[in-house]
């Protein structure tokens, strides 16, 4: 089989092999000028051709169900199949979003319980499940901060502080919500440079966005001081929940002084990443932001679960999507939370941290350089391969690509930007010691190769469906849609 085939290459004009297709309906009453006369480029294949094509494509993917995925900041842990089953029941799948609440008590109860559990584990006062991913949660959070300041007559506050090491969504979200971004520096130990922060904070400060553990993979020890500093200046604290896995059940963001946060349920609550989503990014807030929560929220009234909307929450920042966010993902997250329970949640943080510290130590013993050797690892840790780059000319990207040949997904590379040639490594709690040892073994092997046979790394990967891909060409000679061979030359502009 030609592995280069697209579904369009398999397609043949006038092949009608579907068993899925209703008869054609009449369109005769629709005026012709509303109808299309060109045929779209959609495949004409038989069902087994489609199944083979997509089954074969699936074999070309790494995935948690096949590989260790120590992708820092992404929390690629096991995605329980039971949660998938729970959400895939006909009663949930076939539920129209506008069904009346009377025949929606099942799903509403699920959402209500999830709100309660998330409120609890974050130590906040209320939760809205509306945002559809972490970044949308951030946006909801900053819009609430904005609404809060406006309600306080402080609409002039126009700056959001983010550490230089922050995830890209943080500054991007600040911009999207109409704020300016002020960066604060990170110190040599990975904690925020408090002196610099003092200079940045001011009356223009609307808030600060932080993760804790931070994107430097260490616990921000000055969090209480930072909280005081920003609050004293009239700003609010936003917690980026991407790293919640590290502290789940141990400490709550609410107790660190945060006013608002999002959770990435597709990280901490194990919903599958789907090759790029869907996720869910619920927001949790403390009392002063409750009036601004995005709608809808599930409430209880007359012994019945109900949607609370703009009637109940008149100062809400509004809806974030057409309906109620990614409900199917929320059901998965609830399923997972129910299976974990309170004991299980504490175990998440403990074993994620144990795994990260063990792996960090073993890598250090194997000669790799930790970015913050004097710090404890959290659920993840940073190593820098700058020595290897300097000595052997092998960059972090080469290590990343070669690692694929060991059936291990590359860790997050070159993030955060302030650590050169870095790997951000997050093993998660669901990986076994044997798997971690296999990772150390692969890393050590690569280190040997760097000395003895650097081409093994520079030309990696060797055993994947493709050799290293030319990203520069991809961006220069844009080829974004398939064209019949005849048209192909014409399109390339």
């Amino acid at each position: 089989m030609d592995n280069n085939q697209t579904i369009f290459d398999i397609s043949r004009p006038n092949r009608f092999a579907g068993a899925q297709i209703p008869e054609m309906g009449s369109l005769s009453d629709i005026p012709l000028h509303f109808l299309r006369d060109s045929s779209p480029c959609l495949p004409e294949v038989s069902e087994i051709q489609a199944i083979r094509h997509y089954t074969n494509l699936s074999h070309q993917n790494f995935a948690i169900d096949r590989n260790f995925y120590p992708l820092g900041s992404c929390t690629m842990k096991y995605n329980p199949r039971g949660a998938h089953r729970a959400a895939n029941q006909p009663g949930f799948l076939n539920r129209h979003p506008l069904t009346s609440v009377e025949t929606s008590q099942g799903v509403l109860q699920c959402l209500f319980e999830l709100q309660e559990i998330l409120t609890n584990v974050t130590g906040m006062d209320a939760v809205s499940l509306a945002p559809m991913a972490g970044a949308q949660g951030e946006l909801a959070g900053l819009l609430m901060i904005r609404a809060y300041h406006e309600s306080q007559g402080e609409a002039h506050r126009d700056e959001i502080i983010v550490p230089t090491a922050a995830h890209g969504t943080n500054p991007a979200t600040a911009t999207m919500s109409g704020y300016k971004v002020a960066e604060t520096k990170v110190g040599a130990d990975g904690d925020v440079d408090l002196e610099h922060l003092k200079q940045v904070v001011g009356p223009q400060t609307a808030g600060i966005m932080l993760t804790n553990p931070s994107t430097c993979a260490v616990f921000e020890r000055q969090i209480v001081e930072i909280s005081k500093l920003v609050h004293d200046a009239g700003g609010l604290l936003y917690y980026d929940g991407a790293n919640l896995n590290a502290i789940l059940g141990k400490v709550c963001p609410g107790d660190m002084g945060f006013d608002v946060l999002h959770l990435n349920l597709h990280k901490t609550f194990a919903t599958p990443h789907g090759g790029g989503g869907p996720g869910a990014g619920p927001v949790a807030v403390n009392g002063r932001l409750v009036p601004f929560l995005p709608i809808p929220i599930v409430g209880q009234r007359n012994n019945q679960f109900e949607w609370f909307g703009s009637d109940e929450i008149p100062n809400s920042i509004g809806t974030m999507s057409a309906f109620m966010g990614n409900t199917g993902i929320l059901i998965r997250a609830l399923s997972y939370a129910l299976m974990l329970g309170r004991e299980g949640m504490i175990r998440v943080a403990e074993y994620a941290t144990l795994n990260a510290n063990y792996l960090a130590k073993e890598l250090e013993k194997a000669g790799f350089k930790l970015a913050y050797p004097d710090r404890k690892a959290t659920h993840e840790f940073l190593i820098t391969l700058s020595d290897e780059t300097a000595k052997f000319g092998i960059r972090a990207m080469d290590f990343a690509k070669r690692l694929l040949d060991f059936d291990i997904h590359a860790p997050t590379t070159y993030f955060p930007l302030l650590v050169p040639e870095c790997f951000l490594i997050e093993p998660t709690e669901t990986e076994s010691k044997e798997q971690l040892d296999a990772f150390v073994h692969a890393m050590s092997t690569m280190r040997m190769e760097a000395q003895t046979n650097p081409r093994q790394l520079l030309d990696a990967p060797h055993h994947q469906y493709r050799k290293r891909l030319d990203e520069v060409k991809a961006a220069r000679e844009l080829d974004l849609t398939w064209q019949p061979k005849s048209k192909k030359t014409a399109q390339t502009k």
Binding site: I30, V121, G168, A322, W482
Partner: protein, 454 residues
């Protein structure tokens, strides 16, 4: 321990290697001044068996009869193969395909998706999803503001009956940047250009078919917008584009940006999410597209392969200057939609679209023939139609649900106080004649009994 593979021996060995005596020590950098979490209100863990029992009881509770609601979420048939494939671990559980060499499967699927969507909409390029139709409209508007060099206005004209749920969400999402959405008049159910002379708008948003199921005169709107130096944002239901004129061919020059929700393409309704939003545009605007884009390129051996491209638009590179903050999007649903379009294929999608139309037409004709109800707006409609019941439509809905477990339609009064007696109905290809006949009968009975004051 659920999901955690460590044996006691493992834990001892690991602690020893680290050089600590217990796990608690690993958390020693957390200041002691911070209270330890108290999860006592979180229930105790249960087995998968227990959890599934509880959740299946709840799912059962929510099962209802045939669905005649549309209003942005549609009860289509999804071939069994679609989710059998999309649920394979290799599609369900990977991360975003940043490591291209280990993600050719997902990347090729996205490339095929971009091709299908570009072609369906007759636009040059498509991204690989935004969250949904509502946030998609927001991204389209933000993009229009970035793209429109001829016009510095931050006003966006919403032309007539654009999905009100989309407008609400877009409002939340764009307001922060000082963008204002101005609504056209709705009285006749289609667009109405009431822009006072001289006032500038950055873009015009028009939906086809519109929220009431009606076909807008999109050619005219497009051409008019050009004269105002406004960009045209088209909102479409991709399923209908199997037969309707695509946005790229509207008017003389086509729409500039096209957004919508992909739910009709193989995504279950699932209470409204997860679904996916899509954005298509002309090649000249590609650098303003938010979200991920896959490009075809070659590998070092010269073989064709796929990779994420134009990443300089995105937050992880461009940070505060990115085209959007979007990161995780709706990849899995895009995979399902791509497989759906492959399995129903060119002819299949056309048949779905035409049957949705003819079913709705059958139902509407039947209901109107009774003389008890009439169309709220004038034709032509596609696969949704507002009917004036001459009584409170919400009450009728409640009656049908309680009596017959039928989801009767969307009572327009919930979004438009002026249409309290109108019901927006939709009959997809899944609705049988028997269901439509039963629906028609019970609906008319309900209207009559309400008219008689019961």
């Amino acid at each position: 321990m659920p999901f955690i593979p460590h044996t006691r021996d493992d834990v001892s060995a690991m602690l020893q290697s680290i050089g600590v005596s217990n796990v608690e020590e690993l958390f020693s950098e957390i200041p002691s001044s911070i209270d330890r979490a108290d999860l006592s209100a979180v229930p105790r863990g249960v087995t998968e068996m227990e959890m599934l029992r509880v959740l299946s009881e709840r799912a059962k509770k929510d099962e209802v009869g045939p669905c005649f609601i549309g209003a942005g979420s549609y009860d289509h048939h999804i071939p069994a193969a679609v989710w059998d494939l999309a649920s394979r671990g290799e599609f369900l559980t990977p991360y975003t395909p940043y490591q291209a060499e280990a993600s050719q499967g997902t990347l090729q699927v996205l490339y095929e998706f971009q091709t299908m969507m570009s072609s369906l909409t007759a636009m040059d390029v498509a991204n690989a999803s935004v969250y949904d139709g509502g946030s998609g409209l927001a991204e389209a508007i933000l993009m229009a503001v970035r793209c429109n060099r001829r016009n510095q206005s931050k006003k966006i004209l919403i032309c007539g009956a654009v999905n009100p749920f989309y407008i609400q969400a877009a409002n939340t999402l764009v307001r922060g940047q000082g963008i204002e959405l101005v609504q056209g008049d709705l009285s006749n159910g289609t667009y109405a250009i009431d822009l006072s002379e001289g006032e500038e708008v950055c873009a015009v948003v028009v939906q086809q078919p519109n929220f009431f199921g009606l076909l807008e005169d999109v050619d005219e709107i497009c051409d008019w917008a050009r004269t105002k130096n406004a960009m045209v944002v088209a909102v479409v239901n991709p399923m209908t584009l199997a037969v309707l004129k695509p946005p790229g061919e509207w008017g003389a020059e086509g729409a500039d940006i096209c957004s919508g929700d992909g739910q009709p393409l193989g995504v279950p309704m699932s209470s409204g999410g997860p679904s996916f939003g899509f954005l298509c545009t002309k090649l000249q605007h590609v650098r303003q597209l938010p979200g991920r884009i896959v490009g075809r390129t070659t590998d070092r051996a010269g073989s064709l392969g796929y990779t994420l491209t134009l990443q300089a638009r995105e937050q992880h590179i461009r940070r505060a200057k990115a085209t959007s903050n979007i990161c995780t999007n709706q990849g899995l649903l895009v995979t399902a939609a791509t497989i759906y379009m492959s399995i129903v294929g060119l002819r299949g999608l056309g048949n779905v679209a035409s049957t949705c139309h003819s079913n709705t037409k059958y139902l509407v004709d039947k209901l109107c023939k009774s003389g008890l109800v009439k169309k709220t707006f004038v034709e032509p409609f596609f696969h949704e139609c507002a009917l004036d019941l001459s009584c409170d439509a919400q009450i009728v809905c409640d009656m049908l649900l309680r009596q017959e477990k039928i989801l009767a339609g969307y009572a327009l009064g919930r979004s438009f106080p002026e249409f309290q007696s109108s019901l927006l109905i939709c009959a997809t290809e899944r609705r049988t004649q028997a269901e439509m006949d039963r629906f028609s009968e019970t609906l008319l009975n309900a209207c009559m009994s309400l008219a008689r004051g019961q």
